[in-house]
């Protein structure tokens, strides 16, 4: 019996532990940021930007996210739970543009202000979208490519997931900008797996030795492609332009494997999303889109 009592106490203690006593006071505004994932530098930057802005504005910000970037169902469940919890505003980065339409409408219908962040829903019936103008970012990358290789050169694209809308827009922006000036191979997906990105790049290098430059449209494909280029001894001969700036990519830049990085500004996304939500909750009008811009990082 003493063991049963002990277990009971342990259970109580466990559940007690899981609430670090951060209950919101009734008058605080509560805003939730729902990312595509909970790990990784990108989402940490979003979270930090949002939290800092929350402190500045005097609102309580919590960060939520599904365990993996493809887990739409968990993301929807988190949204449902947030609606139940009666938050005042939600900034969400949809794992899938269409799957989130319904739940975003439901949140708006229950009086919660909703903005999208980083990527948008397909119906676009949120108050505002805060993120990179992906087509413009793609075009920016294309300009770097044009600077690096001779006209008529062959360019390969390694992408994350074929269905992701933001990546699609980046590739479209890139394609439009280089049309007629560079030869493009069909984009190859790595499904968000760096090891796969290495393989895909190696296969392209083997099948198309004429490739002069790789464009990678996200922070996972980039390091993968860079690793493959380096191990094939093609660093400096085959150029690499990637979206995003991460420690891996910066290293590749310093080593002369990558030539230009087009950086999004995730921290600014989190910050702007919270600011817009605060405004919207306060009854102010908010713009339909906010471009958080990109910056190009080159080797010094």
């Amino acid at each position: 019996m003493s063991r049963a009592r002990l277990a009971l106490l342990a259970t109580l203690a466990l559940f007690g532990l899981s609430f670090p006593g951060q209950m919101a006071e009734a008058r605080d505004l509560r805003i939730a940021v729902v990312g595509k994932g909970i790990g990784g530098e990108y989402w940490s930057a979003v979270r930090q930007g949002a939290t800092r802005e929350g402190r500045a504005q005097g609102v309580k910000v919590t960060y939520q996210g599904p365990p993996t970037e493809t887990d739409v169902a968990s993301q929807i469940a988190i949204m449902e739970n947030l609606i139940q919890s009666g938050v005042d505003g939600i900034a969400v980065s949809p794992c899938n543009a269409r799957s989130l339409n319904r739940i975003v409408r439901k949140a708006l219908a229950s009086g919660i202000k909703v903005v999208t962040l980083d990527s948008d829903t397909s119906d676009k019936d949120r108050l505002s979208y805060v993120g990179t103008d992906n087509a413009a970012a793609g075009a920016m990358a294309a300009q770097q490519a044009l600077r690096l290789v001779r006209p008529g050169s062959t360019v390969a694209i390694v992408t994350g997931v074929l269905g992701a809308q933001n990546l699609q827009q980046r590739r479209d922006g890139f394609t439009r900008e280089v049309a007629g000036r560079l030869k493009l191979l069909e984009a190859q997906p790595d499904n968000g797996d760096k090891a796969r990105a290495v393989e895909v790049t190696e296969n392209i290098l083997t099948a198309h030795p004429e490739v002069a430059l790789f464009f990678t449209d996200n922070a996972i494909s980039g390091p993968g492609a860079g690793q493959a280029i380096r191990s094939r001894g093609k660093a400096g001969k085959v150029r690499l332009v990637s979206m995003d700036v991460t420690p891996d990519l910066k290293t590749l830049l310093d080593q002369g494997v990558a030539d230009a990085l087009v950086a999004q500004r995730p921290e600014r996304m989190g910050e702007m999303a919270v600011r817009l939500l605060k405004d919207a909750i306060g009854g102010k009008a908010v713009p339909n889109r906010v471009d958080t811009g990109v910056e190009v990082v080159r080797r010094k």
């Binding site: 009971l8 259970t11 899981s18 609430f19 939520q64 169902a73 739970n81 319904r102 997906p189």
Partner: protein
């Protein structure tokens, strides 16, 4: 010397041991309802039930498989394959689908899940692979086939009727919850009141004894994996309605949620023991935790940690219970 109070205490102790998952769930519900006034609303409880329903269905099949001492790691991938096949069957022709009716599409999806389960069963009882290896293989194969069929892209533009199981209600009750409740009841009947269920436990306890008792193991075991595949597909049909499209990347990690629920519910991974009501409690417990922690404004990191701790504690309790 045992006195009367000792015996009462012993009785209470053994009841606590048996009903530990339920007691933990009740404590949790009590705690959340004290801490958040919104927790105990009908809306929120329905919300938890809907969110848990697809894992709930998968966990029913998983309970049967785990009772045999086996495991089905392929449930998430089989779910993805089933909904992709069903999605391609139901999507209109101009969206690259076959434009079949939603009922036909559902049936095709269910058949796909059952087929994948049958292959698992054949690998395990026909070729003698260990369930871990066989379903690990199927986990990758089903995902691969789903990606090949859809070219890695979600199947969109599904007819509204195709999504009904995950998105609509009848008389105020969501279809998904009704399905879960109904199939869990059936699952309980299968486990406790049919030859299939009793054989499943006997396999987990001592397969050789069952075989020497004149029971052909192969067909029965295969049937259990077919059921697991079928239920994964059924979970997929609910999932389809929840996310509105059929994604080949759906269901990653669902096997772990389902296994965790089954273990929290008091089953032993060594087989021979399992309880359908325990599994339902396990699924609800994880759903309540996820919901409650969001309601409490607890961040995602803490949620992961708490759920991990609960699973480990459940296994420790289980060991204590069976000691």
């Amino acid at each position: 010397m045992t006195t009367v109070p000792d015996k009462v205490a012993e009785g209470v102790g053994s009841w606590l041991q048996r009903s530990m998952p339920l007691v933990a769930l009740m404590l949790l519900v009590l705690l959340f309802s004290l801490l958040s006034p919104r927790f105990l609303s009908i809306d929120n409880l329905a919300n938890i039930a809907v969110q848990s329903s697809h894992i709930g269905l998968i966990a029913i099949g998983m309970t049967l498989v785990i009772a045999t001492g086996g495991i089905d790691l392929s449930v998430g991938s089989v779910l993805a394959l089933s909904i992709c096949v069903a999605g391609l069957a139901m999507a209109p022709a101009d969206a690259g689908g076959a434009g079949l009716s939603h009922v036909t599409g559902w049936c095709i999806g269910l058949a796909t899940g059952a087929l994948a389960g049958a292959v698992n069963g054949w690998l395990i009882s026909g070729l003698g692979l260990s369930p871990f290896i066989a379903t690990l293989g199927m986990m990758s194969i089903a995902r691969g086939v789903a990606n090949v069929l859809t070219d890695g892209m979600p199947v969109e533009d599904l007819p509204e009727a195709a999504l009904a199981l995950g998105s609509s209600s009848i008389a105020g009750m969501p279809w998904s919850v009704l399905l879960w409740a109904g199939i869990a009841t059936l699952g309980g009947l299968v486990l406790g009141w049919t030859r299939l269920g009793r054989y499943a436990c006997a396999m987990g306890s001592n397969e050789e004894a069952l075989r020497l008792s004149g029971v052909r193991i192969g067909p029965w075991k295969t049937a259990l994996y077919v059921l697991s595949g079928l239920l994964s597909a059924a979970a997929g049909l609910i999932f389809l309605g929840r996310v509105s499209n059929a994604q080949p990347s759906a269901g990653v990690g669902f096997e772990l949620d389902a296994i965790a629920a089954v273990v929290i519910g008091g089953a032993s991974l060594m087989g021979g023991r399992g309880s359908m009501s325990g599994t339902v409690v396990g699924v609800v417990l994880m759903g309540v935790l996820r919901n409650g922690l969001v309601l409490m404004d607890v961040s995602a990191f803490w949620q992961q940690l708490v759920i991990g701790v609960v699973v480990v504690v459940a296994v420790l309790l289980d060991r204590w219970r069976s000691a």
